[in-house]
């Protein structure tokens, strides 16, 4: 949509009509972007009010919004969101740094590859949340253990994507760089990493929501503050408005995270052809 809004004003003559046209177009663009979500929410509201389900099974969206509003007013919403985000993002940062380093090491050194490859293949599909009691005993029940369990879960997609990305860098590119006299370090930082970055970013795009998911799940299992903890408490008291409020809150937080990540991707990969729309190529 962003592309269209750029073209549009150029065609329109200057002055007030142009501004109005721009506004209308912007509004239209914003509307199409949320159209499907609005549709979903409307369907929810109508369904809940139709009496097909009891209030416990499906509370109306408006009530859920009310509940979120009162949580925001009391401040609980902000504390819980901040805590969950802090845990998820700290863990994500650790995953991003160490995941890429391990991935790079694995594709550069046979020893690193020998050591990590089987561990990753076995560890990736393992239901790691089962080890939560062990992590609790080692690291306590506070943030350190939650962050650790998130890292253990979310680092795998980063490593896997990095390895595949570096493998996928075209040989011609490496050969020609070699021919031009690039040494190993230059090759890595100037050729391989940039060429591999779109796929590494894809790995990070998988890891970020995963961090949030594991953060919420860990909070659900360990209780206390955080979006997951609040949702678990609501669920224990059969307070389904609270549960659905939790779902909406987590969805909104996650949506924002994913959006920011996509924005960063576009910024970082501005040189890459995927960020260029055909018209500007």
């Amino acid at each position: 949509m962003a592309r269209v809004t750029q073209i549009m004003p150029a065609d329109a003559p200057g002055g007030l009509p142009e501004k109005a046209a721009r506004l209308v177009y912007w509004l239209f663009g914003a509307f199409t972007r949320v159209f499907s979500i609005v549709l979903l929410l409307a369907a929810w509201e109508i369904l809940a009010r139709s009496g097909t389900f009891t209030h416990f099974q499906l509370p109306a969206f408006s009530e859920v919004v009310e509940r979120i509003g009162s949580d925001a007013w009391s401040g609980d919403l902000w504390i819980n969101t901040a805590l969950t985000l802090y845990r998820a993002l700290t863990a994500f940062a650790i995953c991003a740094v160490f995941g890429v380093i391990i991935g790079m090491a694995m594709s550069r050194s046979a020893i690193a590859n020998w050591f990590f490859d089987p561990i990753i293949s076995v560890g990736f599909p393992m239901p790691k949340i089962a080890f939560l009691p062990v992590v609790i005993l080692w690291l306590g029940v506070y943030d350190v253990s939650k962050i650790t369990i998130i890292v253990i879960d979310a680092i795998f997609p980063v490593i896997a994507a990095t390895v595949i990305a570096i493998q996928g860098v075209e040989r011609e590119l490496i050969w020609s760089a070699r021919n031009m006299g690039a040494n190993n370090r230059e090759l890595l930082t100037q050729i391989v990493l940039p060429a591999a970055s779109p796929q590494i970013m894809t790995g990070l795009q998988v890891a970020l929501p995963l961090s949030l998911i594991v953060a919420v799940v860990a909070e659900m299992l360990m209780g206390g503050y955080g979006l997951g903890g609040a949702m678990m408490t609501a669920s224990r008291f059969a307070n389904s408005t609270g549960v659905f409020a939790g779902i909406v809150e987590i969805a909104v937080v996650g949506y924002c995270l994913v959006k920011v990540m996509a924005l960063i991707r576009r910024r970082l990969l501005i040189w890459h052809q995927e960020s260029n729309e055909p018209t500007t190529a």
């Binding site: 009891t54 209030h55 416990f56 099974q57 009691p133 609790i136 005993l137 306590g140 029940v141 299992l221 360990m222 209780g223 206390g224 678990m232 408490t233 669920s235 224990r236 008291f237 059969a238 307070n239 389904s240």
Partner: protein, 335 residues
């Protein structure tokens, strides 16, 4: 082509009709929930289905494992479950918050603190210097989740001694089996201990009992079986048959002369050696009523404590939410 389609639709309709009419003659499907293995009848009842006389005739039984109470309540509210195993605290929550106004207590599962039987124990470390409840000020307390039957007991005890959460102590959630390790590794200062974890030798060596659940709640109607009135009214005969079979099976389990075989069944389900189940269904275990009659007087008191602690708001008259006629009718038939 049109004829083909019409014929196809006809066949489908006929098929639906056939299955629809056949269903009324089929046995009633009863789904029963359980959370804790062994402790809930639902987890072991099918192991002795050879004793059941009506199973497969007037009703069929499926036992389904649920992670906890929230899911159980959701399932019974969605009619995904016919017989739910609920704790006293969850019963009040289900009625008030989940709108399950037609839920009825139909049978006992187990009761805590009946004189001569086991009562839930609350441990501290021997070297912790905690000798009375007041010493817990500023400490960290383990729980299996806010609003659970065990959690209500802890809070009631601390409340009685003038301690309130957040102001005087911190609550920390963890799985019950991990509680002894959490205490001994000094992550928490007080833990609830249920069977069979109270037999942990290290816990007995380094820990001591600060109080028992009976000290605060007296007899507790911990867990009971519940069903919805709409279902009971519709399938009364099948439910009485089911209760009759339950009684037979429960009598068998509680009979001391079957103890060795019971231990073997417990071992098969939990994958722990049978020697570890010496306590099961004896006086060292929580009380289980042989006639499946719940203690409604205790239940009324327990629900009242739950309300006093602020977990539910309305007063609840338990007599309105109990229907013991099924299990009593079934007992008459056995005589």
């Amino acid at each position: 082509m049109r004829f083909m389609k019409l014929a196809l639709a006809g066949v489908c309709a006929l098929g639906l009709f056939a299955t629809g009419s056949a269903r009324s003659a089929e046995p009633v499907k009863i789904r029963m929930s359980w959370v804790a293995p062994i402790a809930n009848w639902g987890s072991i009842i099918l192991e002795k289905k050879d004793l059941a006389q009506h199973m497969g005739k007037s009703y069929t039984l499926e036992s389904i494992h649920y992670q906890g109470t929230p899911q159980t309540i959701a399932a019974i509210a969605n009619n995904e479950l016919e017989v739910a195993s609920l704790a006293y605290s969850s019963l009040a929550i289900a009625i008030e918050n989940a709108g399950l106004d037609d839920i009825r207590v139909i049978a006992d599962e187990f009761q805590d603190g009946v004189p001569g039987y086991y009562s839930g124990q609350y441990y501290v470390r021997k070297d912790s210097g905690i000798n009375k409840v007041e010493d817990l000020k500023g400490k960290v307390i383990g729980t299996n989740g806010g609003g659970s039957a065990i959690d209500v007991a802890i809070r009631a005890m601390l409340h009685k001694h003038g301690l309130e959460e957040k102001r005087d102590y911190t609550m920390l959630e963890g799985p019950l089996p991990a509680m002894p390790a959490m205490l001994l590794e000094k992550k928490v200062d007080l833990i609830p201990v249920v069977l069979p974890f109270s037999f942990n030798p290290k816990l007995r060596e380094d820990g001591k009992v600060l109080f028992e659940q009976r000290d605060i709640l007296g007899v507790t109607q911990m867990i009971m079986l519940t069903a919805r009135k709409s279902f009971i009214d519709k399938h009364r005969a099948a439910m009485v048959d089911f209760m009759e079979d339950m009684l037979r099976i429960v009598h068998w389990y509680l009979d001391p002369k079957n103890h060795d075989e019971v231990a073997k069944i417990a071992s098969k389900i939990t994958k722990a050696p049978p020697e570890r189940f010496g306590w099961l269904f004896t006086k060292a275990d929580t009380y289980r009523d042989p006639n499946l009659i719940p203690n409604l007087e205790a239940l009324q008191r327990n629900v009242e404590v739950t309300r006093e602690l602020g977990f539910v708001k309305k007063k609840l008259d338990i007599a309105k939410y109990a229907d013991l006629s099924l299990v009593k009718d079934a007992a008459k038939r056995l005589k």
